[in-house]
């Protein structure tokens, strides 16, 4: 066990898996000598060499397309996209190819590729270094989508993703790369894909979130507690396939749901959670299903603190829900 940041956990997960399995390779922009712009791959090229830690030319569809070919051959590649905002040039390779190879070939070919990418706001990245576009991927059948909120989950989920036989989009909440620390076991272990975690138990309202926002929810839950409201906080961890049971059980218990995420609200992932609740737990509801999200605008630079849901905004939704 050692205290690690989320970023160090990501690095450690790759190191551990590359030691255990020579099929694991890394490809991405600046992942080699530079160690990645966030230093997630720091030191790996020294240990495993440029044959397994490959600096790619500046082309995201080339990164995903070639990594897909490697995965079909039998490797276990990890592709890094420098910022999630830059994943779109690879969208066709992800949506038309990677996600559909197993299906369209009747499982005669498969592509177990992990795509790692930092996402979300909070680093003054403005329009193009802050986006949370998970909904584009959760709507895509054939992909799994995972995002940790703490170092322990980060390592266990990333190792699980590398070992998974399906393509996994692994979203790293860059805002908390270095600020959230925790005890992380040494060596290999996995956290199961497809299982949410209840990070705080409560009775009056369920906050459903993932990634960096989980911490904002915990703060809001503290504040709610000080007002006598007991909030349960669900950290989804896997966005697809979602652990609907955990969400439903919690909402059945509390009767109230507030979904929190950073993406623009309209058609975001939060809509699916609301829809699942409206379909499967409508009788338990004592209040409307509320969403606290980013605004339906592109991300903004000067006003990012207003754009991002903070504890105060979440608290006002909790109040609305409870007062309903």
């Amino acid at each position: 066990m050692a205290v690690r940041t989320l970023l160090q956990s990501v690095n450690d997960a790759m190191r551990v898996e590359m030691e255990e399995d020579e099929r694991v390779v890394i490809i991405g922009e600046d992942v080699g000598r530079d160690g990645g712009v966030f230093r997630a791959t720091e030191g790996l090229i020294d240990k495993f060499g440029p044959g397994r830690v490959m600096d790619a030319p500046l082309n995201e569809s080339g990164i995903i397309g070639t990594a897909t070919g490697m995965a079909m051959y039998g490797l276990r590649p990890i592709a890094e996209i420098q910022f999630m905002d830059f994943i779109y040039p690879a969208f066709d390779q992800i949506v038309s190819e990677l996600s559909k190879i197993r299906y369209r070939s009747g499982a005669t070919y498969t592509a177990p590729l992990v795509i790692r990418t930092p996402y979300g706001g909070g680093i003054k990245g403005g329009l193009y270094h802050s986006q949370s576009s998970e909904a584009y991927f959760t709507h895509t059948s054939g992909l799994k989508v995972v995002t940790p909120s703490n170092p322990g989950d980060a390592k266990g989920l990333l190792i699980a993703a590398i070992r998974d036989d399906d393509p996994v989009i692994f979203l790293e909440p860059k805002r908390i790369y270095r600020t959230v620390k925790g005890e992380v076991p040494d060596g290999a272990y996995t956290v199961p894909i497809g299982k949410a975690s209840i990070v705080r138990e409560g009775e009056d309202v369920t906050l459903i979130s993932y990634g960096a926002s989980v911490h904002t929810c915990l703060k809001a839950a503290d504040e709610a507690a000080s007002k006598g409201i007991s909030a349960e906080v669900v950290d989804l961890r896997t966005l697809s396939p979602v652990d609907a049971d955990t969400v439903i059980s919690s909402v059945e218990k509390t009767g109230r749901a507030v979904i929190v995420n950073e993406a623009p609200k309209f058609c975001s992932y939060a809509a699916e959670i609301a829809a699942i609740i409206a379909e499967k737990a409508v009788d338990s509801l004592s209040a409307p299903v509320l969403r606290v999200s980013g605004f339906d605008t592109p991300f903004t630079y000067t006003w990012e603190n207003v754009y991002l849901p903070d504890a105060e905004r979440i608290m006002s939704y909790i109040s609305r829900s409870v007062a309903y």
Binding site: M54, N59, G65, T66, T68, G69, E97, D166, P241
Partner: protein, 367 residues
């Protein structure tokens, strides 16, 4: 690297069946005959399938008539462990490697024996059995896959190479650009075989790009290129052999531009009279790659009128029998819709499957 204006093209076998002895590749007789039979099978397969399509018995067809030498001539130089990333005009690649006509028909009918389990439109032939990788409809997407697989083979210290097929139109797509560039940078053992058939649906190649030739695009990536008569199977074979030798010995990628022509429509949905004239088609009919191959075999004493006829008859009855069999094969059960999305079925897919089974019955394969 030498940048040359490469507007000529290699031709070994001319349209009369004359060939340049000094350039003639050394192809075993058995292989030559198999190559011919494969080309003839592709042509006949298309004729019969287009008929099935017109009768509404299959939904669609996208043909290779006129281009058979490209896929057959290049596939012929590969070893069994090498990989092929096809587009949709390469049934010849599968057949030459031993896949059956019956299996191709299973795909056209999308039945329960189709490797794809009825999920793709006709002519998306994949065969793990013969190392032909799963194609999709979006143009050019297979190119980076071929490069990645070739890179992986090198990483794992194996000797396999990858061969990928695409058209003139595909050279405009993003994935051509990224695939070629990565191949150059990582010296991937891959062969890019561009079948320049003069059109991307209705768009003539000269309006696809201002480049005088397509092979000169290789210059942009530091990759050597060669331009060949794509209706001359000997030229395709010899250029491919050089490219495979280069790739296998660590020399990296090669691009081959094969000049050819599709004699039929773009697909069963297309009306080519809208964008090209009869004379052009007639001119290319005279360059037919199968007839040229037949003339060559005759000159070599490997075939005569009788054996040619016999091969034709065998092919015809094999194909008709296979079509019948495939048409009589049931659909995949309705549950197959929900399989293979993931390695294990997720809860939501299970929910959807159960509802479907409830409506149609377990194992339902149609009325």
């Amino acid at each position: 690297m030498e940048l040359r204006k490469e507007t000529g093209m290699l031709q070994i076998l001319d349209i009369e069946g004359n060939f340049r002895k000094e350039l003639e590749p050394d192809i075993p007789e058995e292989l030559l005959l198999r190559m011919y039979r494969t080309m003839a099978t592709v042509r006949k397969f298309e004729e019969i399938s287009m008929g099935l399509q017109r009768q509404g018995r299959i939904g669609f067809y996208i043909g290779a008539a006129g281009q058979e030498a490209c896929s057959v001539g290049s596939t012929a130089v590969l070893g069994r462990d090498d990989w092929i990333f096809p587009a949709y005009r390469e049934p010849g690649a599968l057949l030459l490697r031993g896949e059956t006509v019956l299996q191709l028909f299973h795909q056209l009918f999308g039945n329960s024996l189709d490797y794809n389990k009825g999920r793709q439109m006709p002519n998306h032939f994949n065969s793990r059995k013969v190392n032909v990788v799963t194609p999709s409809s979006p143009i050019a997407t297979q190119i980076p896959h071929a490069v990645g697989m070739a890179m992986a083979a090198r990483i794992m210290k194996r000797k396999d190479v990858a061969l990928t097929f695409f058209g003139d139109g595909a050279t405009s797509e993003n994935d051509f650009h990224s695939g070629m560039n990565f191949a150059g940078v990582f010296k991937a053992p891959v062969i890019f075989l561009c079948q320049n058939n003069g059109y991307a649906i209705s768009l003539p190649t000269r309006r696809q790009t201002a480049a005088e030739t397509l092979v000169q695009k290789a210059v942009a990536y530091g990759i050597p290129g060669e331009r060949v008569d794509g209706n001359d199977i000997l030229a395709v074979y010899s250029a491919s052999a050089r490219a495979v030798e280069r790739a296998r010995s660590g020399g990296g990628p090669t691009m081959i531009e094969a000049i050819t022509y599709r004699l039929g429509p773009h697909s069963s949905s297309d009306d080519p009279t809208k964008y090209r004239d009869k004379e052009e088609v007639e001119e290319w009919k005279r360059k037919d790659p199968i007839r040229r191959m037949a003339l060559y075999l005759r000159r070599k004493g490997l075939m005569d009128e009788r054996s040619e006829k016999k091969i034709g008859d065998e092919i015809d009855s094999e194909i008709r029998a296979a079509a019948k069999k495939a048409e009589g094969t049931p659909r995949p059960p309705v549950e197959s819709i929900f399989e293979n999305v993931y390695s294990e079925m997720t809860w939501n897919l299970r929910e959807e499957m159960e509802e479907t089974v409830q409506r149609y019955g377990a194992g339902y394969t149609g009325k």
